[in-house]
């Protein structure tokens, strides 16, 4: 399967209104064959509605959904070449694993022998060999989810839809399942479309992510672009954590730009912005892209500052909050102008978190290509 040639799902100007509420507002996007596509957004943004429209459980108020070149407007869910893994897994509680997984094949009249083979194959795929006779109430949430996965995969759908697949799992299992899902997708080559509100999940699994906000696509990009080049404040803020400062674009040339931020000072960038001069813009700066050091020492405490602060932006402040997370420590630093900026610092050695404490005066610097200028 070559990516990018033929979209497997084409969503054309789709809107969905429930009474006066617009859940999905004129969304158009293509999902390519073989990709791991993630719909990411806060709860109530319309991402699940969009997924349910692809599955056929909701009808678009306007627009068209085309799956594999075929208009799905009048096709009921049981006739669509897609299968869904539900948020609650919806494993049939009165059937054992084999009967659950074989259900779709059984009612579509596939022979018993083939059903048996395909069920065994699907269970092997999701690592549930040996669980054939278990009842769902004898299984953990993670195992039930595998049953739901196998039950869908056994149908060999063109697209597998997953509604918040990991939200009910504990943190460890979730991390493991993220890898397994990506691995599984790679193995079976089926297009996966996943809905999630968890940005970690989206970043780790997706080949492309559509960030949905208030029924509209805020940005559609591969995960690293989403994080490093957010298109607007919503994406910058929703994906990862970020410091956002409002300012005025005072210099904008092909190789440099400057934004005057009240409270933070002048921010220099080593690239152009191509925004209107004097425009109101926002600077987005990720906490991990800021180096922290003791003022006046001239060099950063961290070795990373061998990158001399030449050409770096500088700021000063006082530590007002600390939160030790094990792998990193987060610092909330009050700038001289009163604004709070968040800095995260990796604990590269065991005592790194002891370098700074509350009310310490600190200097910060960051590379001129670290901030992102947002026009909206």
């Amino acid at each position: 399967m070559t990516e990018g040639k033929q979209p497997i799902i084409e969503i054309r100007n789709v809107s969905k209104r429930f009474g006066k509420v617009t859940a999905v507002d004129n969304i158009s996007l293509d999902i390519r064959a073989g990709e791991f596509f993630v719909l990411l957004g806060p709860s109530g943004c319309g991402k699940t509605t969009l997924l349910r429209m692809i599955a056929g459980f909701e009808m678009p108020t306007e627009g068209q959904i085309i799956i594999d070149g075929q208009d799905m407007s009048l096709v009921p869910p049981n006739k669509r070449p897609v299968n869904m893994v539900f948020q609650s897994y919806a494993v049939f509680p009165h059937m054992n694993v084999t009967d659950n997984v074989g259900y779709g094949l059984r009612i579509s009249g596939i022979s018993k022998a083939e059903t048996r083979d395909r069920v065994a194959e699907a269970l092997e795929l999701v690592k549930l060999g040996g669980f054939e006779d278990r009842m769902p109430d004898q299984m953990s949430g993670g195992q039930r989810q595998r049953v739901a996965l196998a039950r869908s995969l056994v149908m060999r759908p063109k697209v597998l839809l997953l509604d918040e697949p990991l939200s009910a799992l504990d943190a460890k299992l979730r991390a493991q399942m993220q890898f397994e899902l990506a691995d599984l997708q790679d193995k079976v080559g089926i297009t996966f479309v996943t809905v999630t509100h968890d940005q970690d999940e989206a970043l780790s699994m997706a080949s492309r992510v559509a960030v949905i906000n208030k029924g509209e696509v805020a940005q559609l990009a591969p995960p690293s672009d989403l994080y490093e080049y957010p298109a607007n404040r919503f994406v910058a803020d929703f994906v990862g954590s970020v410091n956002i400062f409002e300012g005025t674009l005072t210099l904008d040339e092909p190789d440099k730009a400057a934004v005057d931020c009240p409270g933070l000072g002048k921010i220099y960038l080593n690239h152009g912005v191509t925004g209107p001069h004097g425009a109101n813009v926002w600077i987005a700066l990720r906490p991990e892209k800021i180096y922290l050091h003791v003022p006046g020492e001239g060099k950063a405490v961290r070795a990373a500052a061998q990158d001399a602060p030449d050409g770096h932006n500088l700021a000063r402040g006082t530590i007002k909050g600390m939160s030790y997370l094990g792998d990193v420590t987060l610092y909330d630093i009050q700038l001289e102008g009163g604004h709070i900026i968040r800095v995260s610092r990796p604990n590269l050695s065991r005592h790194d978190q002891e370098d700074f404490t509350w009310d310490d005066k600190v200097s910060m610097h960051w590379r001129a290509d670290s901030p992102v200028v947002l026009l909206s």
């Binding site: 049981n78 539900f86 609650s88 049939f92 009612i107 869908s152």
Partner: protein
């Protein structure tokens, strides 16, 4: 006493006052039934003094054609009323759970009316209703039971609907959607997913309907004709002369029958399933 371990706060079953309370409750509930059963073996025309063991009243009861006929009538009515109430009740419950339609609240309210309305009123209402309709009373068995059966369905199906409705509340709609997603038609999804889910409530509802119908006296009394005597009505007429051990014997048979039926249903369904319904 002293070498026993102390009674823990939650070990109610080891507390004397609790045990005696449970004992008294059981006595209150079951003593009349036990007395009734014991005296069915009493070798005396009167139900007052124990005179000795005999089975002759069972023989007598079983040879009493009109009593047997009443028993058969009752069982037939209960059986028919249960089956039909089950279908109507389950469908009504599914309809109220599944769909939105005009006057839904009104439908829901009126449906449980037969449960609330005093039986005597329902009885009189049915009497007038069937009289106005000029409902034929001279049909061959079992068609002559139709009036009573209809009346019984009326007060049985709301109970079935109520129990099924309660069970439906715990149904995960995604299971039905999953079935359809896997290719099931509306009917297949109903048969394979929804029906198994509500099965315990159907068993519970059927038990409820069966026992309600079997021992109903008031409504039956108003709707039965001279040829359509049911067991409770027959017993009533027998008792008007005297309470003979024959009545006891017949009642004992009925008790054993219903207990056995309940037991089979519970066994078949698993007590857990029925307990979950409530």
């Amino acid at each position: 006493m002293f070498n026993r371990t102390a009674i823990a706060p939650l070990e109610y079953t080891r507390k004397l006052w609790m045990r005696s309370w449970v004992g008294l409750t059981m006595l209150f509930l079951y003593a009349p039934l036990v007395v009734l059963m014991i005296f069915s073996f009493n070798d005396s025309k009167r139900n007052v003094m124990w005179k000795g063991f005999t089975l002759k009243y069972y023989e007598k009861a079983l040879n009493n054609d009109s009593l047997v006929e009443a028993m058969v009538n009752s069982l037939t009515i209960a059986f028919l009323a249960t089956i039909i109430s089950l279908v109507i009740g389950a469908l009504a419950a599914v309809m109220l759970w599944r769909f939105r339609f005009p006057f839904k609240g009104l439908v829901e309210g009126t449906m449980s009316l037969p449960i609330i309305v005093p039986e005597i009123c329902l009885g009189v209402a049915f009497l007038i209703f069937f009289a106005k309709l000029d409902w034929p009373t001279d049909l061959a068995w079992p068609l002559n039971l139709s009036a009573i059966t209809i009346a019984h369905i009326t007060f049985c199906f709301p109970f079935v609907a109520m129990v099924v409705r309660a069970r439906l509340a715990s149904f995960n709609r995604e299971e039905e959607e999953a079935a359809k997603d896997l290719g099931a038609t509306e009917w297949q999804a109903f048969r394979d997913v929804l029906l198994p889910h509500i099965k315990p409530s159907l068993v519970a509802g059927a038990l409820l309907a069966f026992t309600l119908s079997l021992d109903d006296f008031v409504i039956t009394f108003f709707t039965s004709g001279p040829d359509t005597i049911t067991f409770p009505v027959k017993v009533y007429s027998m008792v008007r002369f005297s309470v003979t051990p024959e009545v006891n014997a017949a009642s004992t048979i009925l008790i054993i029958l219903t207990v056995a039926l309940t037991f089979i249903a519970l066994k078949y369904q698993g007590v857990k399933g029925i307990a979950e319904t409530h």
